[in-house]
């Protein structure tokens, strides 16, 4: 046999290496490795391990109190199931509970305002922080400047009521909620509307995106199933074919902003059938909106309006629903009144006005009373931000710097004030806070019926407990807070009560209709209408901090760092805009850009639909600097009853 040479060894080695590699490839190992790599990039938390068990609890996220089952691996909750599988609250609850940027200790600002960097804060103890804030409050109240203390809460819940009480006991009238469906309805109608939608058989929605975050999403999912089972009819009036409009029995594709006119047109048809609501002056306005006139304004046909009015009148338990939007609601008080008047005209049993039991007015000290005497009371939050003033501001879970159209004004005022925030994640408003207290999610909150399903995260405390602890150190407020803790108050708190009938104020309606006429008129400078849309889990911005929500966003809403807007196809042609083109949008308030254009027939002519919830400056690394916030350029006319800006419809141009 021929002697093996160097070249032969190379061939042997090469063959061996090639064979080994081929065997490795054919075994599928490299593909398995790539799949692992993909999973690894998902940054999914892997529980340390431990026994598997299921905790049973009652969900406290809303009034439905669904049964809840929490799957635990050791001490870590890994999955929540509720008896309502479509509920978005439960799907995001663990994302918030174990969020990597969840605040885990009280923070005191040591750096300049306007940043969310960790280096701008130092960790402090609860006692130290509360003592410092109480000292500042005592000083302000003692100087009869209690009216320079203000509070903004996200929701009208008990923690919000406690903050309102602390602010009032300090001698200030500046206690506000962010505009929500309930707070707007309460200001416009004298009570929130308790809709019994499960039992309605004809639902007439005026831009209320019932299946996209409107009201309580958990309840709405159940109602939708109930409607389908019993054959209830859903009629959706909207300028955009949203998800709700898509699955409605009838979609009334109206011109943006004309919902109130449609309500008056339907009322006009009902009046001809002998139905009435409000006084003669109210009905006189209704009399002007004949189906023909309504059709001309809304873009519908007179026959469509008459048919809807006829079906609405003939239904067994019809209900008209106000509150344009999903999670972010913006409707004028006149619109709430006009829609509720329809319910009054047909005697709907599915729309009852109710009032939450409040905590009553606190007894005021002499200093607080003197301060309150001089205080002005703006009608609502946006009115306060625009026209009010403060030296100390409490922010309870709210994010008005991001969500209000007056966010920039608030930021300017917060720069020179002392700001205290209670929240689980540092949001855009907390970028200007001097103290931030970590608060709890609903999974860590005890209820009147039992302990919290899970232990509080790190050093977080319920905002209600934090406010009570603070109030007990404020000399002029401690008498108004007899509770030892938040749970004491929960146990004594009663159910909501009836709020009587709404006052259908014709002057409010008249004034609004006059301003609407100007708003609806296209000008040469701003020929287009800008209206908001929402993704169900993003809402008005709350959901964007959660990685799973980001993954559910489609690439025609946000992709490659750009937000997409929807433009009517014909309008885009007229404006010379093509699919995917980058555009800037300009209103009389300013410009946002750039965004990409998606051309579609599902938006009314002359209209641009823009997603809400994007363009945060803070609110975790997942939400920060993603897209633009349209509130920066949206209309900021303030409603006289709600004190909130009506930002729904904005005249704009493409620039």
């Amino acid at each position: 046999m021929k002697k093996l040479e160097r070249k032969d060894f190379l061939m042997l080695g090469g063959g061996a290496v090639a064979g080994g590699l081929a065997g490795y490839v054919f075994s599928g190992a490299p593909f398995l490795g790539l799949q692992w790599l993909v999973e690894w990039t998902q940054d999914q938390h892997v529980p340390v391990g431990g026994p598997e068990q299921y905790l049973k609890a009652i969900c406290g996220a809303c009034r439905n109190s669904c049964d809840m089952s929490i799957r635990m691996i050791g001490d870590r909750a890994v999955k929540i199931e509720t008896s309502n599988s479509g509920c978005p609250f439960s799907q995001n609850a663990l994302q918030l509970l174990y969020h990597p940027e969840r605040l885990d200790s009280p923070l005191k600002r040591t750096g300049k305002k306007g940043t969310a960097r960790a280096s701008a804060f130092e960790r402090v103890s609860w006692d130290e922080a509360i003592a410092d804030i109480a000292k500042r409050m005592n000083k302000l109240i003692g100087a009869k400047k209690g009216n320079m203390i203000a509070g903004i809460s996200k929701n009208d819940n008990l923690a919000g009521a406690l903050l309102n009480r602390l602010v009032k006991a300090s001698g200030s009238a500046n206690a506000y909620y962010e505009p929500t469906l309930n707070t707007l309805a309460q200001a416009a109608l004298g009570g929130y509307v308790d809709y019994d939608l499960d039992n309605a058989d004809f639902i007439l929605s005026f831009g209320a995106r019932l299946l996209e975050g409107w009201g309580t999403p958990c309840t709405m999912n159940k109602s939708f199933v109930a409607w389908k089972k019993k054959g209830a009819k859903l009629v959706q009036a909207d300028a955009v074919r949203t998800r709700t409009a898509s699955i409605a029995d009838t979609w009334l594709a109206i011109k943006p902003g004309t919902e109130i006119v449609l309500a008056l047109g339907i009322a006009n048809c009902l009046a001809k059938k002998g139905r009435a609501a409000g006084g003669a002056d109210w009905m006189a306005i209704v009399g002007k909106y004949t189906p023909e006139k309504t059709a001309a304004i809304t873009g519908l046909k007179a026959k469509q309006i008459e048919d809807v009015a006829d079906a609405f009148a003939r239904a067994g338990n019809p209900v008209a629903v106000a509150g344009r939007g999903g999670s972010g609601v913006s409707s004028s008080s006149a619109e709430f009144l006009a829609v509720q008047a329809l319910n009054a005209m047909v005697g709907s049993r599915a729309a009852t006005l109710k009032k939450s039991q409040d905590l009553g007015e606190p007894a005021l000290s002499a200093d607080a009373a003197a301060s309150l005497k001089d205080a002005k009371k703006p009608a609502g939050l946006d009115d306060f931000i625009k026209n009010g003033n403060f030296e100390m501001l409490f922010v309870n879970e709210a994010d008005p710097a991001y969500r209000s159209v007056y966010g920039a004004d608030l930021i300017n005022k917060m720069e020179g004030a002392f700001v205290v925030a209670f929240m689980p994640l540092l949001n855009d408003t907390a970028m200007y806070a001097d103290y931030i207290f970590p608060s709890l999610s609903y999974l860590e909150t005890a209820s009147a019926t039992g302990d919290a399903p899970l232990k509080p995260y790190m050093k977080a405390v319920h905002a209600g407990d934090a406010i009570i602890s603070l109030a007990k150190k404020v000399d002029d407020a401690k008498g108004a807070f007899p509770w030892n803790g938040y749970i004491d108050l929960v146990k004594t708190y009663g159910a909501a009560a009836g709020a009587g009938a709404a006052n259908f104020n014709a002057k409010v309606l008249n004034d609004y209709l006059a301003s609407l006429e100007k708003m609806l008129k296209a000008s040469d400078e701003f020929p287009l209408s800008l209206v908001p849309i929402e993704l169900a889990f993003v809402g008005d911005g709350d959901g964007l901090a959660f990685p799973y929500v980001l993954k559910a966003i489609d690439d025609k809403t946000y992709s490659q760092g750009k937000l997409w807007v929807q433009i009517n196809r014909k309008t885009a042609d007229e404006q010379g805009v093509s699919e995917g083109e980058r555009i800037d949008i300009e209103s009389s308030r300013g410009e946002i850009g750039s965004v990409r254009a998606h051309l579609t027939d599902t938006v009314a002519p002359g209209t641009i639909a823009i997603p809400l919830g994007f363009g945060h400056k803070a609110y975790t690394r997942y939400a920060r600097e993603k897209g633009v916030n349209p509130k920066e350029i949206m209309t900021n006319d303030i409603d006289p009853l709600t004190g909130a800006a009506n930002w729904w419809l904005t005249r704009v141009k493409i620039s």
Binding site: K2, L12, A18, G19, Y24, Q44, V46, V78, A552
Partner: protein, 190 residues
């Protein structure tokens, strides 16, 4: 030329074989739990012989792998399921061909014991509902999924050796897509 083919081909084939075997076994090892299987089990004899004799179909997996009343999957059976046929008081031999005999190996276990573990146990960060997938049907009434889709052909197995282990997320997603089940993160994770 012959010598070149020989010099390259032989080591190529040898290392191809060993590379393939080594890598495959490595993949199988990392893709399976390694549970103690204290008692062997012959699926094939039970399904092909005893099930038909008792009027059961080969697809009646839920006889042993049942659900709790709330819909949660029980997974592997307890000894109680075995002794419901192999009665603890039955004779262990000479009982006739159609009588399930007592199995002395169960004597050392309580009814609630599970003297075996699962090869396909998903990690703690994944939630999977057997009930949802196994009861999903096409419009014509056919079931969309079978046990074997994920667990392999257990019905033909004669011992407790692994057939298929865990799945990676891509496989879960492929199946979700095929069955029209959402692939959104929160469907399986929280």
């Amino acid at each position: 030329m012959k010598r070149t083919v020989f010099l390259i081909g032989i080591p190529f084939l040898v290392t191809l074989y060993f590379g393939f075997i080594f890598s495959s076994k490595g993949c199988n090892y990392v893709m399976a739990n390694h549970p103690d299987k204290l008692i062997d089990f012959n699926h094939k004899s039970h399904l092909s012989k005893y099930f038909p004799e008792n009027g059961l179909s080969k697809d009646d997996c839920t006889i042993c792998h049942d659900y709790y009343p709330n819909g949660r999957f029980k997974g592997l059976p307890t000894v109680a399921e075995c002794t419901s046929c192999h009665d603890r008081n039955a004779p262990s031999k000479d009982a006739g061909p159609n009588v399930a005999r007592r199995k002395p190996m169960f004597d050392e276990y309580k009814d609630t014991d599970k003297p075996w573990g699962s090869f396909a146990k998903q990690p703690g960060l994944v939630y999977f509902s057997h009930k949802v997938v196994m009861t999903a049907k096409y419009e014509d009434g056919r079931l969309k999924a079978r046990c074997g889709s994920c667990h392999g052909d257990k019905a033909d197995s004669m011992n407790a050796a692994a057939i298929k282990g865990k799945m990676l997320m891509g496989q879960c997603e492929d199946c979700h897509t095929a069955l029209n089940i959402s692939n959104k993160c929160a469907v399986c994770h929280d």
